[in-house]
Symmetry: C2
């Protein structure tokens, strides 16, 4: 069996970035396997958004893996630390940073990719508007790709050369939104808010909402987000 | 806050290798945080063995994380593929290989280490009697350490330089057993079998049992394992 060049695992959070990355994978001819994590995040609404996105973009399969970061702790997204909602968007690593989150997500994506005989993994990380997360930088992604090829049966046997695609890594939020809109993405079904209402309405105040809002303004496109 | 040089996260399966690695961490003065995965493995007995080992070696804490590899599939240890039990121990990558298992385990260990402000991670991988797993080789471990330092807040901020310790990597099984025995490890509480009886007795036939048996013979020490 050789690598099926048409299959790609796409990490999806139901937000703007991963949704755009998925639309780009589709536009490149990949059959998409959407992978989402239920990690006890406060913003549960992103799980239903991710499901809606997988349907919207005709993903071949949508897999939700449970992984309980709360047992480990250390982040405002999963532990009992207040989510920051006021003040300027900081350039330092924020308290919403979850230790090793992308490493854990990419490790599972690799496991699924190897099982599917897929060489390609898409992750919507961004080094421009990336909120200061260290695991969104090109050198980190390159290091992970090395791990993927050295630590997998398919990689070592030379059957698959895994590639971690980061099509958004050098884009601004406005460029991401324009790219997705041009590919027909309906951003009204995506969710970015760190602290949505029980009905899933965005708070409009958290770092993620503010970056999103500014992105639509900068892109010159109407913001379809439903705010409280 | 600076890294607590006395804390180490030790990956534990309740088997001979990880137990010996844990005993070595203790002998080096580390306060041990034992990390075990409940990944739907057939050999559930290893979960109670890991708990017993953590108690035996006075671990500071023992954390069991659930992660369902069965949803991903692709291995005889978690899927419906027969476990091989006859024939010579093969030098190729066996069907018991779980895609990206060590990458997933190390990613969680990194998350916990960063939360604990611990720089040190111990993993009992072995490149001699390693059953052909690609993610037990030194170059793979080095690649992961690079991911750890590039992809974590503590690493990027220069607060912690993460180290992945593989004290067993160049030891034979006999050397591992002699080392642990010299450190006072009671191997009767450990579990290696891929296909134990419901009471937790080892099958004596699977690759893992055969490597274990041979290890005690080669070490010139009595094998305390309870076989069916």
């Amino acid at each position: 069996m050789t690598a099926d060049s048409r299959r790609a695992v796409v990490l999806s959070s139901g937000g703007i970035d991963s949704t755009t990355a998925m639309a780009m994978a589709v536009s490149q001819g990949f059959s998409v396997f959407s992978l989402t994590f239920d990690y006890g995040q406060r913003h549960r609404h992103e799980l239903s958004a991710a499901r809606a996105v997988a349907r919207h973009l005709n993903a071949e399969k949508h897999l939700v893996l449970e992984t309980d970061f709360r047992k480990i702790g250390g982040s405002a997204l999963t532990a009992d630390i207040p989510v920051p909602g006021t003040g300027p968007v900081e350039n330092t690593i924020p308290v919403t940073y979850v230790p090793a989150r992308n490493t854990i997500f990419l490790a599972y994506a690799l496991a699924w990719a190897e099982t599917l005989d897929a060489a390609d993994i898409f992750i919507g990380v961004n080094a421009v508007d990336y909120s200061g997360y260290p695991d969104c930088r090109p050198e980190y992604i390159e290091a992970f790709a090395r791990v993927a090829n050295l630590g997998s049966k398919a990689g070592v046997e030379g059957r698959i050369t895994f590639a971690v695609h980061t099509p958004l890594i050098h884009m601004t939020k406005a460029e991401i939104i324009r790219t997705g809109a041009a590919l027909g993405v309906d951003y009204s079904i995506t969710s970015s808010c760190y602290d949505p209402s029980p009905e899933g309405l965005a708070c409009g105040l958290c770092d993620s909402c503010r970056i999103r809002k500014k992105g639509f303004v900068d892109a010159g496109l109407p913001d379809p987000t439903r705010y409280v």
